[in-house]
């Protein structure tokens, strides 16, 4: 019954993430929420469309749009543009906002 020991989070993560509410904080305070701006198909979607929604991601090389939450901070979700090559954080914007102009959103 006993679950395995939950190893506590170590400082294996190094980014500095600008929470729009708290300012720059270390990455280990945050939780990654996956790729952003993925409209959820409704029940009428065919199998292929639904499978694409479930299993396919853009896997961007360069500026990637992501959801993050300041889990061990203010608890707020927000959007982040993160360059997956240079690891630079390029922009932060609200959960209801569209991506800023600096990003050309690739077609899914």
């Amino acid at each position: 019954m006993k679950p395995p020991l939950l190893a506590s989070r170590i400082e294996a993560t190094m980014h500095l993430i600008p929470c729009p509410y708290c300012g720059p904080r270390a990455e280990w305070e945050f939780q990654w929420g996956g790729e952003a701006h993925r409209p959820r198909p409704d029940l009428s979607a065919d199998d292929a469309t639904w499978a694409q929604y479930l299993f396919e991601r853009r896997n961007t090389r360069g500026p990637a749009l992501e959801r993050w939450v300041h889990r061990y901070g203010c608890g707020q979700w927000f959007h982040l543009v993160r360059d997956t090559v240079s690891h630079e954080v390029l922009a932060v914007y609200g959960v209801e906002d569209r991506p800023p102009d600096l990003v050309v959103e690739p077609t899914p």
């Binding site: 019954m1 006993k2 679950p3 020991l5 939950l6 190893a7 506590s8 170590i10 400082e11 190094m14 980014h15 500095l16 270390a26 939780q31 929420g33 959820r40 198909p41 409704d42 029940l43 979607a45 199998d47 639904w50 499978a51 479930l54 959801r67 939450v69 889990r71 608890g75 707020q76 979700w77 240079s86 690891h87 630079e88 954080v89 959960v95 209801e96």
Partner: protein, 967 residues
């Protein structure tokens, strides 16, 4: 003659002698010594034996470049293996032992390593030992080869972690770093300086120590923090610098409250890297013989420590540093037999000084080999004329040029460029937030430091101040690289710590491991604690020569952290033992222990597993506790159960979206069991949901999933349905929950005194009122199969409720029930535990909850996935009961279920199994292919090679009609 202390000089404190022990022998040194300088002063030449070939090794360098021999410092739990003696400050009582000495440091094991050596060529880990047998040799090889041993006892000391946020972190307090720090000190930006040595100054110790001292004082007055004894080991993303500060020397006893090492995580807006240069050795036959040292290291031992490592010297050099070394040796009263310079005769101030001192210089000559038994006794020189000369000497100082320390720059993503004039890789591409400053001389370094400081200041729109620079020796004449001075002899070493020879590099080339990445892994060069500091370039150069390429064509590997080995203790810092993953404590933990509870961790909570009575065996306790619930009444602590309150007009809508069931139709005051799915249609969690008011729900996820579910609700409300009016608040720890369960639970609850309408409270309902005078929520839900009342009170009132229950419970023979008994009770009922009886493929239909889904009007998470072919196919594993045919064998949990003739493939497995005290027979449940359609079918349960005949049975073994729940 071997090393000795010079009668005067050095920057040590001769008024403070220190006694220490090396390899069991008592020795003395002085305050300010390193272990290396003290060993040299005591005449020690052989400090250890080498990794593979067991060769004698001595002190080679005077800092992190000391790749000669590793030592263990300290004893028992404080022992630290694999230290470079030149990086260990001497202290009173230091105990050092050589690493990898078997049978002993001095015993001649030539006979042994003569037959081991051929077995250990480059790539020996990658090659199969087909003849005669690896196993035959393994023991001997393992004893003769390798590094130090791990400590024999737990580390008794404290390690700490600290965070620092600064504008500028300067790595290295040599001429470049100090100049930069002084230039920025009063500019208004915050600066921290990091240096590995006890005193700032770097190479200024040789040229202008007074300036370095004054610079330190100035920085201190300006409020600039200088972290000494601190190694910057890694430069990570977004300017995060990892630094280990050695607060006390390795192995030393600590007074109470002191910390051994501190991990600094420094977030710097700009990193100014000024880590200086590393001197390169030369590759020639027996270049590892004790007595062969780097030229600047020799100068440091003379000047800083007042130590002569040997009496009579030969200098082998490709640049001016060898000449400076010769002059310093002569000035210390030692003999220099010859300077062997690879270059055609050059003129420079350093050469002029050596010439003026009357030191014989052999131009266009090469030192090709050392001779001697226990250490250097002579050197063989190939002269410009083509003839060979042998010179008697006890020390050989070598200088193969300089390599900038580019480790952190490379870690941060910087690319290196080949500087042909200097024969070195240098930083080339700009790196965000990083400035580099290095120079080939003190003057150039200071200029580079000032320029880097100006660039940093500009980034902050500040300006630097002019710095009065230290005395700078005149510039050197150009060097002429020499990558291998002798032919194909076996004992010309490239990487001393990894025991990699020039021949190994050629073997790698011959076997086509010509890529730099393959070279490194095949030969292991640069992989030992040296991390390529001295070995990198010679290895690349030899590979270039062996493959007819230039050095930049061979390329270089990207350096990875750590720059220097760091202890696991400092990475763990305070997170050891109970602090590694702290458990959650129940509000009633002390009360449970008072009743003799055995506590165990369940999903991070320390909870009572059982309450054994004196002399009771575990099985007896289980039986007693289970029967107490079935026949009377028991109480168990259900506080860890997740609690999330949802309020607002859209709360019901949100619940419908996360649940397989329709929760919006739940009447106020009622409770419903529900299942949550992931978007792929598999079970995420199960639990109950209570409706407290028209717009007020209480969701109870399992304790293990409570935070996951809370995070999911937050994400949905914030990101996906921001217009929905609903608040989700996790209140798990705000409430203590005690569950009364058993036929007498209702009577006990009444006896506690309550204003709740108990007689009209049906199974699966909830009411708010007072219990034992406390504000309480009482939910009638059951995980045991008996009538149960979960009494939730504010956790601050837990003790009051607890004592009231026990005061009222005596007449009912109330018994405390541990979680292990609850798990048996639920198994008798066939109630599942998420994550035990389900896995990442389980769908609601697999659990028997598929029936109502078609009637639900709205979409919910995972719904579309339930229509995929995979979720609708036949043959899916379904949760069913399993009963042994013999009625006595407890089926092994995890045992595979084999239908028909009992042969694989598996048709499923047992997920939970126990002896049922209620039924006096074993009960089990499991996931079985098409299980529900095979009710009553025979199967066999695999327990290793054993096969246990069993039958597929109903999930619920006790009171399947549920009379006791409603009674």
């Amino acid at each position: 003659m071997t090393g000795f202390r010079l009668p005067s000089g050095g920057q040590i404190d001769r008024s403070q002698p220190l006694s220490f022990q090396f390899d069991g022998t008592a020795m003395t040194g002085y305050s300010g010594d390193t272990l290396a300088s003290a060993l040299l002063a005591n005449g020690v030449r052989t400090v250890g034996r080498s990794f593979k070939y067991h060769r004698r090794r001595g002190i080679v360098g005077a800092g992190v470049e000391d790749a000669g021999a590793l030592v263990t410092v300290g004893t028992a739990g404080r022992s630290v293996p694999n230290l470079k003696p030149a990086t260990v400050p001497l202290y009173e009582g230091l105990v050092a032992t050589p690493v990898n000495v078997w049978p002993s440091l001095e015993m001649d094991v030539r006979a042994l390593h003569q037959w081991i050596a051929p077995l250990l060529p480059a790539g020996f880990y990658n090659k199969t030992f087909t003849w005669p047998s690896w196993h035959l040799f393994e023991g001997a090889i393992r004893r003769a080869a390798g590094f130090g041993t791990a400590p024999s006892a737990p580390d008794p000391d404290r390690y700490a972690k600290a965070h620092l946020s600064v504008d500028v972190a300067i790595v290295g307090a040599g001429p470049a770093g100090l100049t930069a720090a002084l230039a920025l000190a009063t500019s208004g930006v915050s600066v921290v300086v990091i240096d590995a040595n006890p005193r700032p100054g770097g190479s200024l110790a040789l040229t202008d120590p007074a300036w370095a001292r004054e610079a330190s004082a100035t920085l201190s007055r300006a409020g600039v923090r200088v972290l000494t004894n601190s190694t910057a080991f890694g430069l990570y993303d977004h300017g995060l610098l990892g630094v280990v500060e050695q607060c006390a020397p390795p192995g030393a006893e600590l007074s109470a409250g002191r910390v051994r090492e501190r991990l600094w995580l420094i977030r710097a807006a700009r990193c100014l890297l000024a880590p200086g240069l590393i001197e390169r050795p030369l590759v020639f036959a027996n270049n590892d013989r004790p007595g062969v040292m780097l030229a600047q290291a020799v100068r440091r031992y003379l000047t800083v420590y007042g130590v002569a490592p040997a009496q009579r010297w030969v200098i082998a050099t490709v640049g001016d540093e060898g000449h400076r070394c010769a002059v310093d040796l002569l000035a210390a009263g030692l003999d220099v037999a010859a300077i062997v310079d690879h270059r055609a005769a050059v003129t420079s101030p350093a050469v002029a000084a050596a010439t003026a001192a009357g030191i014989p210089i052999e131009w266009q000559a090469r030192l090709t080999a050392t001779l001697g038994r226990r250490g250097v006794e002579g050197a063989r020189i190939a002269l410009a004329s083509g003839s060979t000369r042998t010179v008697a000497c006890t020390g050989v100082a070598v200088h193969g040029g300089w390599s900038p320390t580019v480790h952190l720059y490379s870690q941060a993503g910087g690319r290196l460029a080949w500087d042909d004039a200097r024969a070195a890789f240098v930083p080339s591409t700009p790196v965000a937030r990083v400035e580099t400053a290095f120079g080939w001389s003190v003057g150039e370094a200071c200029a580079a430091g000032a320029a880097a400081a100006a660039r940093v200041a500009q980034a902050f729109q500040r300006s630097t101040v002019a710095v009065a620079l230290p005395t700078a020796p005149p510039a050197d004449a150009p060097l002429q690289p020499l990558w291998e001075a002798s032919g194909a002899e076996a004992s010309a070493f490239v990487d001393l710590l990894s025991d990699v020879t020039a021949r190994d590099i050629r073997l790698a080339a011959q076997e086509n491991y010509v890529s730099v990445e393959h070279l490194k892994r095949y030969t292991t060069t640069g992989m030992a604690p040296d991390q390529g500091k001295t070995s990198n370039l010679p290895a690349l150069a030899l590979m270039a020569a062996a493959t007819d390429r230039t050095i930049p064509e061979v390329g270089t590997t990207r350096f990875r952290p750590p720059f220097e080995p760091i202890s696991l203790g400092v990475l763990a810092h305070s997170r050891r033992g109970a602090l590694l993953a702290p458990s959650l404590t129940l509000p009633l933990a002390r009360e449970h222990l008072g009743l003799g509870a055995e506590m165990e961790e369940y999903g991070r909570w320390q909870r009572p597993a059982l309450y054994p009575r004196r002399g009771e065996r575990r099985e007896e306790t289980l039986v007693r506790e289970v029967l107490a619930v079935r026949n009377g009444v028991g109480v168990f602590d259900a506080s860890p159960l997740g609690k999330i309150e949802l309020t607002g007009p859209d709360a019901a809508r949100l619940l419908d979206f996360i649940s397989v069931q329709t929760l919006s139709t739940l009447p106020v005051g009622r409770v419903r069991y529900h299942v949550m799915l992931t978007e792929t249609g598999t079970v995420l969690d199960d639990g109950v949901c209570a409706r407290l008011g028209p717009e007020h729900f209480l969701l109870s996820p399992s304790s293990a999933m409570a935070s996951t579910v809370a995070t999911l609700l937050d994400e949905l409300l914030q990101c996906d349905f921001p217009a929905w009016r609903c608040l989700a608040t996790a209140v798990t720890q705000g409430w203590a929950v005690l569950t009364l369960t058993g036929p007498n639970a209702l009577a006990l609850l009444s006896a506690l005194g309550t204003d709740l309408p108990l007689s009209t409270l049906p199974h699966m309902s909830i009411a708010t009122g007072r219990v034992a005078g406390l504000p309480a929520r009482v939910a009638r839900v059951s995980f045991t199969g008996e009538a149960s009342y979960e009494i939730a009170v504010p956790s601050t009132a837990a003790q009051t409720l607890w004592h009231a229950i026990w005061a009222a419970g005596t007449v009912f023979d109330l018994q405390p029930i541990g979680l292990e008994s609850v798990l048996v009770l639920r198994l008798e009922k066939g109630y599942l535990i998420h994550g035990v009886d389900t896995d990442g493929e389980t769908t609601p239909d697999d659990l028997g909850y598929g029936g109502g889904i078609a009637r639900k009007a709205s979409d919910f998470i995972g719904r579309r996935s339930l229509l995929r072919p995979e979720q609708r196919r036949s043959g899916r594993r379904q949760l069913v009961g399993l009963t042994p045919e013999d009625g006595v064998t407890v089926l092994p949990a995890g045992g595979h279920v084999l239908l028909d003739d009992g042969t694989p493939p598996s048709d499923g497995w047992v997920t939970s199994s126990a002896y049922s005290p209620t039924l006096a027979r074993p009960v089990a449940i499991g996931l079985v292919a098409d299980g529900r359609a095979r009710m009553g079918a025979r199967c066999q349960i695999a327990d290793g090679d054993r096969r246990i005949p069993a039958r597929i049975a109903a999930l619920c073994a006790w009171d399947p009609e549920g009379r006791r729940l409603h009674g």
